[in-house]
Amino acid sequence: MIRVRATFEKCGRAKYISHLDLNRCMLRTFRRSGLPIWYTEGFNPHPYYSFALALSLGFESSCEILDFNLNEDMPNEEIKDRLNAVMPEGMKIIKVAEQKQKITAITEAEYSFSLSAADTDRLLGDIQTLLSLPEILIEKKTKKGVKTVDIKPSVKVMSCEKTDHSVDMVIRLPAGTQTNFNPTLFIDALRNMGGETFEAEKIRRTGIFCENNEIFS
């Protein structure tokens, strides 16, 4: 059994494929590719594969991680090409490699998005105000109900640039098996300030990281 890790992008119309649907979609993609996928050896054998992180419906990504196993070794380029030949529009394998780190090593994910507004100076001011607050309390829905969380210590702003019609941001948030913060939490907190009205667009996951800012691979 050969363990394989594929990095793929999910853009365009493919961003409307929900996580549940993505599972079914990959199963069929594997079957179309004719790759020697490894099946579990249980009462109900099924191909084994898993996604490192779920991606919210409507988000694009350039760094999704898919792990699966093959019955026989083959060149990574060939695996990539055979999958790409049968992938849906908007989904593309960028890289196939060995599984270096465990999924549990993931600590952060990076997102880029664009906040379009009429008065971008005012919006930029709102963002600076929000980030200077001692705490940013948001209500987060969990399986156990709604709880209040302070996301202030977790938000890392990587860049924040003003253009004519928008403020474009890149932020990092906790991700992985422990805590997952969705960028909409930050965006909603900004909206709840009641400042300049804006629309959040082009939300895209741009990176998955481990401890010490190391790119997950």
């Binding site: 365009g12 119309r13 493919a14 409307y16 494929i17 929900s18 649907d21 993505l22 079914r24 979609c25 199963l27 069929r28 993609t29 594997f30 079957r31 179309r32 004719g34 099946y39 054998p45 419906l57 409507g58 049968v86 849906p88 529009e89 908007g90």
Partner: protein
């Protein structure tokens, strides 16, 4: 661009992937190189419409032609419809995301009567005039319909330019060819429709004018514009060689029939007298085992589906059923593909067949017994004896099954209280059988589910002349059945009789019903086949406002010599035959299946040879 507007609001919809296309297997073309654009519309939601095999066939067939582009279009769910109306998003096709009002053909498949109001709603959402008479004189936006319901399309006649009768594989392309040619010549809409009326299978309703008698029945039909007096349905003669898609559009979201599907036979030899499909799809034709295996393999490889089903009205009537299943199972088992086999009949269910099926099928057994007593089963020509039902149940129980689902109809012609009690008695005897079997599943009780539908007489069946039971009669029979069932081992479920009451009106109705369909839609009726939307009260108001006496269509016997609203449409099953079968039914005499003896329905005259 419409795409941007759609995307701006798409996440406001539930299951947005239904509204954006981009699925594997969908066909994208360069529209500047396309001559004719066809919007194939299914008048229900994506999840249901995407399961329809006819659409898959005609979609692929049309797109094989480089200069024709067929795209898909479905009724949006209520949530997204509201978003579309609020933001002025016209109904669009899923491949190009272009509005369907700009298409050459807008084609609907009419699979059930309760989808009629959805057609009106979709036309409205598309910004296409709902009445054919209100559309442009230019040669564009031709609204057509096919499918089983168009065997009596009169309640829809005012809304469509063309109905296509019978099988579409040839006639659709002929119609598009004619369109492309005539548009090049600068023809008008009417000139095109006049020419189209001469293609076999094409019915242009506006050239047919009904005159009525004082008692409301049809007096005569006048045909204008040189259209043919009788329109014949289209039949594919060489079914083994007919086009079959080598790929399906594979949806992201789950749909009702989420699997590959191969049509193994068309038509049915059985002649159950209530069954419209059994008559309008004649003659019986089948594909060779080799063809079926090839198509199964090809579809599974191209789609990546791990499940395939065999589609037909009665798969076990295939003359090569045993070798076919053996060959298919060889392939599917080795490729870890599930083979699903709907439409298996009780009477030719052999032990060896069951053994094979058991390998792949874990679900329960379902039998359509339809009638509770042998007398009634003889009336409806459901040639299944109690002995056969018992025999099959025995094999199934010995094979480890402990639940059986039985389908019945209520309100069948000549039905009495005895027949209704017979349903419960039959179920009781199956329970007794279960406990008499030594090697029955250990430690498990038996569960019999009885599902009762209300009988709907349909055109082109021997029961087309029959009235439907009134609401009082149906309610009496439902209560009687519930009172007769005395054990928890039997579960009884019903279909809502009001649904069947509406179905019969639309199935047997004439052109005067168009305004009622329109009025019902205006009152908000849509998705009538969905329990949560069905509103019989609004329909009743609509009929009343249009001065329509529903019992005239639903509860009146249509005389043998009466002109039916569908008599000018020829499905090759002769009216003489239907009358003969109706009389035989009333004498409780059965008619053997077509393979045993030809009953002279008339279809072989068209085929030009014996069917068997």
């Amino acid at each position: 661009m419409l795409k941007d507007l759609i995307e701006k609001h798409l996440l406001e919809a539930q299951k947005p992937s239904r509204y954006i296309g981009g699925e594997v297997g969908s066909v994208i073309k360069d529209k500047s190189k396309v001559d004719v654009r066809f919007a194939f519309c299914f008048p229900d939601t994506y999840d249901i419409g995407m399961s329809h095999l006819g659409m898959k066939i005609l979609y692929s067939l049309t797109n094989e032609r480089e200069n024709y582009w067929c795209e898909r279009c479905f009724a949006p769910g209520e949530d997204f419809e509201a978003v579309m109306r609020e933001n002025n998003i016209p109904l669009y096709a899923l491949e190009s995301l272009d509005p369907i009002k700009d298409f050459d053909f807008i084609g609907f498949t009419m699979q059930y009567e309760l989808s009629y109001t959805n057609v009106l709603n979709m036309l409205d959402l598309a910004g296409i005039p709902i009445f054919a008479a209100d559309r442009t004189q230019k040669l564009t936006q031709i609204v057509v319909a096919g499918g089983p319901c168009v065997c009596n399309p009169e309640p829809l006649a005012d809304f469509f330019d063309i109905f296509i009768l019978g099988e579409g594989e040839e006639v659709n392309l002929e119609l598009m060819d004619l369109y492309a040619e005539m548009r090049k010549q600068g023809a008008s809409r009417d000139e095109f429709l006049r020419s189209a009326a001469h293609i076999e299978g094409v019915y242009v309703p506006k050239f047919y004018h009904f005159m009525y008698k004082e008692d409301g029945t049809i007096d005569r039909l006048e045909v204008s514009d040189g259209a043919p007096e009788v329109v014949h349905k289209r039949i594919i003669t060489d079914f083994d060689k007919v086009f079959y898609p080598d790929n399906f559009v594979v949806p992201f979201t789950e749909i009702v029939q989420d699997r590959a599907s191969v049509e193994v036979l068309r038509g049915c030899i059985r002649g159950c007298r209530f069954c419209q499909a059994g008559f309008i799809y004649r003659p019986f034709r089948e594909k060779h085992t080799d063809t079926i295996c090839k198509e199964v393999k090809c579809l599974c490889e191209n789609t990546g589906y791990d499940e395939v089903s065999l589609a037909s009205l009665s798969t076990s009537d295939h003359s090569e059923i045993d070798p076919m299943l053996t060959a298919l199972l060889d392939y599917t088992v080795s490729e870890r593909i599930n083979l699903s086999l709907p439409s298996l009949r009780v009477d030719n269910f052999s032990e060896s067949l069951l053994e094979k099926i058991k390998k792949v099928r874990k679900s329960g057994l379902t039998f359509a017994a339809e009638g509770g007593t042998q007398r009634l089963r003889d009336v409806i020509n459901k040639n299944v004896s109690e002995e056969e039902i018992m025999n099959t149940c025995r094999i199934a129980f010995e094979g480890g099954y402990s639940s059986v689902k039985l389908y019945f109809m209520m309100g069948l012609p000549t039905e009495t209280d005895e027949d209704i009690k017979g349903i419960a008695e039959l179920a009781n005897r199956i329970i007794d059988l279960y406990y008499s079997i030594e090697n029955r599943p250990k430690g498990r009780g038996v569960q019999i589910s009885i599902s009762c539908a209300t009988f709907v007489p349909k055109p082109f069946t021997p029961f087309q002349f029959e009235p439907q039971d009134t609401r009082e009669m149906i309610e009496h029979k439902q209560k009687l059945l519930l009172d007769t069932v005395k054990t928890k081992k039997i579960k009884v479920s019903y279909h809502n009789p009001e649904v069947s009451m509406l179905e019969v009106i639309l199935a047997k109705g004439d052109r005067r019903l168009c305004k009622a369909v329109y009025t019902a839609w205006q009152k908000g009726c849509k998705f009538d086949s969905w329990d949560e939307y069905f509103n019989f009260g609004k329909w009743t108001e609509a009929f009343a406002e249009c001065g329509i006496d529903t019992s005239f269509y639903a509860n009146r016997r249509f005389e043998y010599d009466e002109i039916m609203p569908w008599d000018h449409l020829d499905y090759y099953v002769s009216k003489e035959f239907l009358i003969r079968e109706n009389k035989t039914a009333h004498k409780s005499i059965t008619t053997p299946n077509c393979r045993l003896r030809c009953s002279g329905c008339g279809v072989n005259k068209k085929v030009g040879r014996e069917c068997f």
